[in-house]
Amino acid sequence: MQIKVLSGNEALAYGALQAGVKVVTGYPGTPSTGALTSLLAMDLPGRYVEWSVNEKVAFEIAAGAAWTGQRALCTMKMSGLNVAYDSLISIAYSGCNGGLVIYVADDPGASAGMAEQDTRGFALMSDLPMLEPSSIRDTYRLTQVAFELSERVKTPVLIRLVTSIANAKTALQIADPLPPADRIPILERNIAKYTKAGAAICITQHRDVIARLEKASEVIQEMELNSLQLAENPGGLGIVAVGAAVAYLEEAFDLAVEYGFDKTKVSILRTVTTTPFPAADVQKLFARCKSILTLEELEPHLERGLHIEAHRTGFAGLIIGKLDDGPLSRVGEYDVDHVLQGLNIALRLGIPGDRFKGNRATETLAARRPITVCAGCPHRGTYMAINQAIQNLDLDKDEVIITGDIGCTILGMNPPFNTVWTEVSMGASVSLAQGYVHGGVKTPVIATIGDSTFFHAGIPGLLNAIQHQTPLTLIIMDNGWTSMTGMQVNPGTDQTFQRTGGRRIDLARVIPGLGVDQFFVIDPYDLKGATSTIEGCLTLPGVKVVLSRRECAIQVRRQGKRTGNVRLISKKCVLCKQCVTATGCPALSIKHESIVIDAALCNGCGLCAAVCPTGALEKEDGT
């Protein structure tokens, strides 16, 4: 045993190691990234860990490994499960042999900026059990349970964390990880299980998946994973809580005491699943309680289950939550005040309403801090070149649609660039752009995307444009890394960083190979050259692809290479501030009526020098 400070993501990784996982795959996505990152940093003989090209691929690899009888884990954020779902539903119907666990992280509060979706809906839809840990400690335990459950029932099992658990840290006592079980891979030829060949097979599999969920429910009961505390006297309040909300119960109880709350009078069900629905425990709760308070973040999945169970069992008490204009919110993440408010309404504690109103007026006085790209970020040069090219062609910036994509490249939506108009999902920029063309837009249509996102899901969109010869300019901003999520290696990352025996895939060879005749490579630090190439593309017919290529400045610096610096020649500076307004570079500031360059931050990209009209900024070469 050892005590370690672990995040929820790391606890999940250690739980999987403890369960003897052999194959781990995933695609980076906040807040799930840390789980696989921590495993990649370890020396794990006998196990295989990789960042895959996208979540669907990652999941299929994990499923294949589980079909050979090994234990496999796949990690992703909620958006990734959307991508993997096509295979997830199919493999749910087939079942598995070795334990197959899918870790998915939701982001209530949308701190990472994506749709605030509740992935529990996928568990309902696919009849797959989904474990919902309420803490880091719980995550470590339930990850191990997930593998056991998966193997006992022969079903994939989902485990869902939310940001506040995945990214939080605590000190945890953990066992020394065991080596993976030495299992001989099995090869099972069974088309009734592994294919969807014909209605008979599919209908049988549908029956199987339903039966497996029922079995999972029994195993969960048998393992006593849920905690049910019944009040001594009947007729009180019952609380059903799941996930992150569970962690705030005790604190809310303590706060509510002041308002006459008596913990001994309430019954509490802390469930580890919404799917399967904890029917047996809920029935016991109904039998003891007069009314029920449901505590769950995001969508009222558990609450709907309670209404159905109430209908089935004839429970006539009030069910308090989010439905029927209930007091709790379907939006945002929970803290103790949400639980306290639930208790307040359910028990009429009379806590004054202003107790729950934060002084947000104060916050509105804070300066807005739109995020921008780092000092030296090559993307800056690409945005500036796109903007300049549009201007050179005498086009109105508001009449040239530029679709954007996921990752650092989306920061071009913010000032000072205001370049990118849309952000949908991985790869969507390329296909959306084609829709704008067919919608009748007469001005040039531009799509922008990063390298990792292009590999992930951008290629099919480009193939489509090539096949149909839909006129557009696709600009791939290739910085060599999956940067936004914290610098993961992707297929285009330099060979040095690929796994031993792995191979880098060069986009400059891939794109012409797809059938792009008008293909250009630019250096985003060369503002003049980049602008001229993009300008040319906007006047050409057909499909044009521009590969704007330079390594992420943060990574260049981490490798100990310096790109140089920019120096101010004060006597030439007329304080027109063009450098600041055009680049918005964090290394530039204006202090005491002078431009100041933070030498420690500057990566010497020279884009400020490129826009300086008086030559007051001079790029010094790096070493």
Binding site: S135, S164, Y248
Partner: protein
């Protein structure tokens, strides 16, 4: 014992490192601890916050409004985002560094005055401790790390020292970066000695 610390600042100031150091000291002392760092998408220059909850086992990671025994703000404008978490009678340590966004530097957007920020903190009924950034000392000709200085100031000026021990904190700081130990311990000690104004 339960002691909640809410920290706010701008990416690049070392707020998360500061919180991480407190967490290590708390773990070392055997306190139950929950630490939730929240950073935006930018490497630098974006809003960063951290929630540290000491002394309560199995507690949820978020601090409720009016709940923080101590708020530490390392940037003047971002301090406003910590105000609603300050517990009445709790401590609010503001290191008044102003990190102006580009639009402010260009005169296109407003930036809150020091007086308006101090007033907002006072209205929250928390005990204000203001540290002028001019107090940041130099060692060997360069400024010390502001986050370590502020950490020291938290021990020297707030009730954090009733929960954790300054000597033990010094050892955590020293052990974290052995090659920078001299500078960091000097920064911490300078913070311990400095007296904030109210």
């Amino acid at each position: 014992m339960s002691y909640d610390i809410y920290l706010v600042g701008v990416g690049g100031q070392g707020i998360l490192t500061l919180a991480d150091l407190i967490m290590r000291a708390a773990v070392h002392k055997g306190h139950p601890v929950s630490f939730l760092p929240t950073k935006g998408m930018a490497q630098r220059g974006g809003f960063v916050k951290a929630e540290l909850r000491l002394g309560r086992r199995g507690v949820g990671p978020h601090i409720r409004e009016d709940g923080a025994h101590l708020v530490i703000a390392m940037e003047r404008s971002e301090a406003l985002k910590g105000v609603r978490y300050a517990r009445p009678e709790g401590d609010f340590l503001l290191y008044g560094h102003a990190w102006e966004p580009t639009a402010v530097m260009l005169g296109e957007a407003a930036y809150p005055s020091l007086e308006s920020v101090l007033e907002a903190i006072r209205v929250s009924n928390a005990r204000l401790i203001y540290l002028d950034p001019k107090e940041l000392p130099k060692i060997d000709g360069g400024y010390v790390a502001a986050n370590i200085f502020v950490l020291g100031a938290a021990f020297g000026n707030t009730r954090l020292d009733e929960v954790l021990n300054a000597d033990e904190m010094t050892e955590v700081v020293r052990a974290r970066w052995p090659r920078r130990a001299k500078h960091n311990v000097a920064a911490f000690d300078a913070g311990l000695r400095v007296r904030g104004t109210s």
